[in-house]
């Protein structure tokens, strides 16, 4: 499917990843960081941008690894192992690179980077790229826009949570349960996008 490089194809992948099949709210990938770092708006923003960066990069590198290493050597069954190692190494490299060369960005993203290794959205996007048979450009677009969808969901959710603090709900719902239910309501709103089509 490497011929699907037309503008509409890219646009439909992007729109799908951001709105229709949002990674968090529809696919349930990346719930842990979504719940963990959405208490304040600025941390949510930091995490969101870090995820966009790593998801885009991971999609690109995993595509190359899959095409020129795994498929070439008939090692497709090692996919999961190879991808998680690529992602772990990538996160580590990005962290070291940022610390040395862009310290300002490092201090902004620093603490979120290690968390991303265990973010299922990153491994998920790499696996889905392979499953859907995306080409290189499509994979990168899917990775980046998937990250944009994550950023949007986490920022929306952080603002809801900031207001939740002043809401009056039963004491048993304190903390996680009320957060989950708020996230559910956002997911409900996102279902409205499910009819959206580019063509």
């Amino acid at each position: 499917m490497s011929n699907g490089l037309g503008f509409t194809s890219i646009l439909s992948i992007a729109l799908g990843a951001i709105l229709i099949e949002n990674f968090i709210l529809v696919k349930f990938l990346g719930i842990c960081p979504f719940m963990g770092v959405s208490k304040k708006m600025d941390t949510a923003l930091g995490m969101g941008f870090a995820v966009i960066f790593v998801m885009g990069l991971a999609s690109a590198i995993c595509w190359v690894v899959n095409r020129y290493l795994l498929v070439a050597l008939h090692l497709e069954y090692m996919q999961t192992l190879a991808y998680i190692l690529v992602i772990a190494a990538l996160v580590q490299l990005v962290e070291m690179f940022l610390r040395k060369s862009v310290p300002s960005l490092y201090t902004a993203l620093g603490i979120y980077l290690p968390l991303i290794t265990t973010n299922c959205a990153v491994l998920g996007v790499a696996l889905l790229n392979t499953q859907n048979g995306y080409g290189f450009i499509q994979s990168v677009v899917y990775g980046i826009t998937g990250g944009v969808g994550f950023l949007m969901a986490i920022v929306l959710f952080a603002s809801v949570r900031e207001r939740n603090q002043y809401a009056d709900y039963p004491k048993a719902f304190e903390g996680f349960p009320i957060a989950l239910i708020s996230a559910g309501l956002i997911a409900l709103a996102f279902m409205g996008f499910s009819g959206l089509k580019v063509f």
Binding site: L29, I31, M35, T117, C120, P170, F176, I181
Partner: protein, 243 residues
């Protein structure tokens, strides 16, 4: 550490999903029919037990600086084994769980138990811990599946239990129709959609928190627990749930 303590910790007191709040992605994503829930639960249980055993054996050899990387490689190896076995023997399950089988690699329960239990305890205890934590996870999945499937589709045991001319029987190819409790048109489809996942898990955790709070209050009233200790405990729990 006694077997009984490990059992109650895994299933109730330190339940991986409801108390430790780990592994929620898969918990909400796949609990739409009992077939998926049981399949996922058992897969995680097997992987968790095997990983705990291997990491416990290797715990004195693994250099502490790179332990997380070693854990991830061990986990990924077992996940690959289970993934391939499912593709070969239960293809329906492999298809229906899709990307969530390879994603067990990043399931926080497994890496969490490796870090907090298997790397500090003996092989026997680690194996039991894996079985019981896996059991706790499976039970939560089953409860969520039963609730969501019942309200959403009006059936029980979809995919796993087949009611046909041959009577009620278990099937492993995911083709079971399930036991119909009320007609399908009255089902609230919302419960099998993502919203239902968030709502069900949120409510379950709220119930557990409600019971814990009530127990604390009772103990305070009975004078068993001083108010300060209770406040400390409540504080500790809050801190724990932040992660």
């Amino acid at each position: 550490m006694s077997v009984k303590k490990l059992f109650t910790d895994g299933v109730i007191r330190q339940n991986p999903v409801l108390v430790q709040l780990l592994g929620m992605c898969s918990c909400m994503a796949i609990t739409t029919s009992l077939f998926n829930g049981v399949g996922m639960g058992l897969s995680v249980m097997i992987i968790l037990t095997c990983c705990n055993i291997v990491i416990s054996i290797l715990r004195k050899v693994i250099p502490p600086n790179i332990r997380i990387a070693v854990f991830v490689v061990v986990i990924a190896a077992f996940v690959t084994i289970v993934d391939l076995l499912l593709q070969a023997y239960i293809p329906a399950l492999s298809k229906s769980l899709g990307v969530f089988i390879p994603l067990i690699v990043v399931n926080c329960i497994i890496i969490g138990r490796a870090e907090s239990f298997a790397s500090k305890n003996g092989v026997g205890a680690s194996a039991l811990d894996g079985i019981f934590q896996g059991l706790g996870y499976t039970l939560v999945l089953i409860v969520m599946c039963v609730i969501r499937e019942f309200i959403g589709k009006g059936t029980f045991g979809g995919g796993l239990i087949d009611v046909g001319e041959a009577g009620v029987r278990f099937v492993t190819d995911g083709s079971g129709s399930g036991i119909r409790i009320f007609p399908a048109q009255y089902g609230a489809l919302l419960m099998v959609l993502p919203f239902g996942g968030f709502l069900t898990l949120g409510t379950l955790i709220a119930i557990v928190q409600g019971i814990t709070n009530r127990k604390h209050n009772k103990e305070i009233r009975a004078g068993k627990l001083s108010v300060i200790a209770a406040l400390d405990a409540a504080h500790g729990e809050e801190g724990g749930s932040d992660e």
